[in-house]
Amino acid sequence: AQRVTQPEKLLSVFKGAPVELKCNYSYSGSPELFWYVQYSRQRLQLLLRHISRESIKGFTADLNKGETSFHLKKPFAQEEDSAMYYCALCDTSGTYKYIFGTGTRLKVLA
């Protein structure tokens, strides 16, 4: 079954510390993976996608097909990174259905 797992509901780190939000997926084909973010009182929005290999707001995510993971990382957390983060997979086998993880709330402490 297709599934996205985010094992941590809440992750608290101190400002300046490294951050890693975990995401594992189960998918039989070639996945398209995304990270979406929801800041307080704002809409859910795209943060980054794996094919772009880009760094957004200092965050990067590498697709590891061997470990079926797409962890989100940032070397030095900032207070403004506090938000809800969702890992998502787009099924490109024909349905283009999106599957979201349950989300991880990141709290960056001063």
């Binding site: 809409r43 929005q45 795209l46 993880g101």
Partner: protein, 118 residues
């Protein structure tokens, strides 16, 4: 419009009443999705549309929930005989198209409708 628009932004209703939630996607976006966001439950997929058809309704929690989309644009999510457990934020998202071009698969979300069932 400039973004995905949802109405109403807040809805308070009594248990047993029917409610309709509306979503206006970004103009030209053929794909439309409905999700439910409950406290502590993350994002729950409900249904999505390709044009006016809904290939996957597997996420609808019960037969009290239904959705339709007309003209390849506006969509309405209807909840009949609301229950207290239906209280949540209902999110709508749209994307440009279903295709192999990844940029078209990016979802743009509305601000949501907060439903409270008393």
């Amino acid at each position: 419009g400039a973004g995905v628009s949802q109405s109403p932004s807040n809805k308070v209703t009594e248990k047993g009443k029917d409610v309709e939630l509306r979503c206006d996607p970004i103009s030209g976006h053929t794909a439309l999705y409905w999700y439910r966001q409950s406290l502590g439950q993350g994002l729950e997929f409900l249904i999505y549309f390709q044009g006016n058809s809904a290939p996957d309704k597997s996420g609808l929690p019960s037969d009290r929930f239904s959705a339709e989309r007309t003209g390849g644009s506006v969509s309405t999510l209807t909840i009949q005989r609301t229950q207290q457990e239906d209280s949540a934020v209902y999110l709508c998202a749209s994307s440009l198209a279903f295709s192999g071009v990844l940029a078209k698969n990016i979802q743009y979300f509305g601000a949501g409708t907060r439903l409270s069932v008393l």
